[in-house]
Amino acid sequence: MSNDVLVLAERVGKQITDSTYELLGKARELADAWGGRAEVALFGPSEGAEQLGGADAVICIDHPALSDYVPEAYETALLHVLTQRAPRLLLLSNATVGLDLGAALSVRWDAPLAAYAVDLAVDGDALVATTQILGGKILAEVELGGSRAIATVVGGSLPPMTPAGSAEVVTLAPPAELDSSRMSVLQVFEPSGGDVDITAADMLVSIGRGIGSQDNLELAEELAQALGAPVSASRPIIDAGWMPKTRQVGKSGLKVKPKAYLAFGISGAPEHLEGMRSAELIIACNTDAKAPIFDVAHYGTTVDLFDLMPALAEKVKG
């Protein structure tokens, strides 16, 4: 067993993602505590390796099957790296890539997995993860037994590492299984333009499940118009098809940081909070006084949104 920590690097275009740096910071901390190395696996063309200074090594595998993110090919390549490098811990983002790979590798690499981790710490001989479950209502402190482990970490939970210097680059020959893929990427879709850019707005009128029905969107639109702010929404509104994907705030939507974020009928699932918690002023309206949105909001009210929205619109209009 080694004392190394391995991070899987993710890229958007040629840019290493923020979550990779968050994982790398924790990898550095744990590897130092164990007296091991912090290593990063980077798949596809090795450009990007120079952005990963701060790691002890960047482990590169290139193969035509790895030029896009193909879940199966990435799993094959990552299992190969795990077998070759035998780290004590693998860190993945708890987003699409980590959701594809973490649980599968838990079985295939035979290692316990702590999903939805918000922190990891060494406690004597044990590795302890704090994970967020039940919609953020409960935190669980779990010990990962055995000589190797995997954690998928929720984005924004850890401070990112600032890359510095340069890391040793180790290139591994691609495993033969990459030649026989059952999966291929047909098309990649970038976020569609043409709609309002909610990430550029000073203020957002944001709605969630509490709005009840599509007909009630009028209330939000009327208020938004009076305030000169666009309407944004949490996931259920987008899934219901009531608003386009370009208006979605949260983990699988957009991260926003307006001067004011007015949340109506949003309970505040962790996935939503991830997308808006750094807004300068958050005012939340929800009839459930215990809704998690009130833990990140600066001001809150349990007044019914169906009374509050029209009252606000009327007062703004004067």
Binding site: Y69, P71, E72, T96, L99, D100, A103, A104, S106, V107, R108, P112, A114, A115, Y116, V128, I133, L134, G135, K137, I138, L139, A140, E141, V142, E143, G145, A149, R182, M183, S184, L186, Q187, V188, F189, E190, P191, L227, D239, Q248, K251, S252, L254, K255, K259, E280, L281, I283, A284, A289, F294, D295, Y299, G300, T301, T302, D304, L308, L312, V316
Partner: protein, 254 residues
């Protein structure tokens, strides 16, 4: 095409969650259990696939899940061709995946759909774990499934509004984030009719023992590091205070 939808009962998050006296698990005794909302999305997507391309939809749950019968009957009422309970109990995804893999080895499916995650799967998500047991390709965070020749084409979502279309050879396991439309409702009368028409068949499987390797030290409610300052009064009074707050930041004119 045989499409299996895996369904799990999870604690209703609308309810207060209590912990056991030992403090290392949630107290399930008085909890209300509901269908995992992502599994409901998976069922909807399966029914849409069936409507578009034909096939048979089988809803599968674990007999040990509290209140799973209601969800399975509802699945049939919505349009699933049948529902089955696999005998066994699982609190961890690792145990669940081993049981359901044993079922699927005996009763193979062309396509397995299930929710991308569940609120209580702290040892990992079912779809990839199950696929690893069965040696099948898998894709998670899927928002649309279309059937092609010997393959399915799925749309997989990423953060920031990016997505990609992936062709996956069948048999395959798909973790569904959202169906192409809001899950349909089944009228209560139809659910009752299904319930009266027969019991849910139970299937015994021979699964290998499988643990997660995790030990929960403790569970606790997150400490509130901060809480919103609550504005009280009538809707008019609260509206007045909110406008003052945003006006102070120069965001409302006048």
């Amino acid at each position: 095409m045989r499409i299996v939808v895996l369904m799990k009962a999870v604690p209703d998050l609308v309810e207060e969650i209590e912990l056991t006296p030992e403090g290392n698990d949630i107290d399930r005794e008085f909890l209300k259990f509901v269908l995992n909302e992502w599994d409901d999305q998976a069922l909807e997507e399966a029914l849409l696939v069936k409507e578009a391309s034909g096939g048979e939809v089988v809803a599968v749950g674990l007999a040990g899940d509290a209140d799973i019968d209601q969800s399975l009957y509802t699945a049939v009422a919505k349009g699933a061709d049948s529902a089955v309970k696999v005998i066994g109990e699982a609190t961890q995804t690792h145990e669940r995946a081993a049981l359901l893999a044993a079922y699927l080895r005996e009763n193979p499916a062309d396509l397995v759909l299930t929710g991308v995650q569940a609120p209580d799967d702290l040892d990992g998500q079912l779809a990839p774990m199950l696929a690893a047991h069965l040696g099948l390709p898998h894709v998670s965070v899927v928002v649309a499934v279309a059937v092609g020749e010997g393959a399915v084409v799925v749309r997989q979502e990423f953060a920031g509004g990016r997505s990609q279309e992936v062709s996956v050879k069948t048999p395959a396991v798909i973790g569904v984030q959202a169906a192409r439309q809001t899950p349909r409702y089944a009228p209560i009368s139809r659910i009752r009719q299904v319930m009266q028409s027969g019991a849910l068949p139970e299937v015994a499987v021979a699964a290998e023992a499988s643990g997660s390797g995790l030990r929960v030290r403790r569970m606790y409610e997150p400490e509130k590091t901060s809480h919103a300052h609550m504005l009280t009064g009538s809707a008019d009074e609260v509206a007045e205070k909110i406008i003052e707050l945003i006006r102070a930041r120069g965001l409302v004119k006048g």
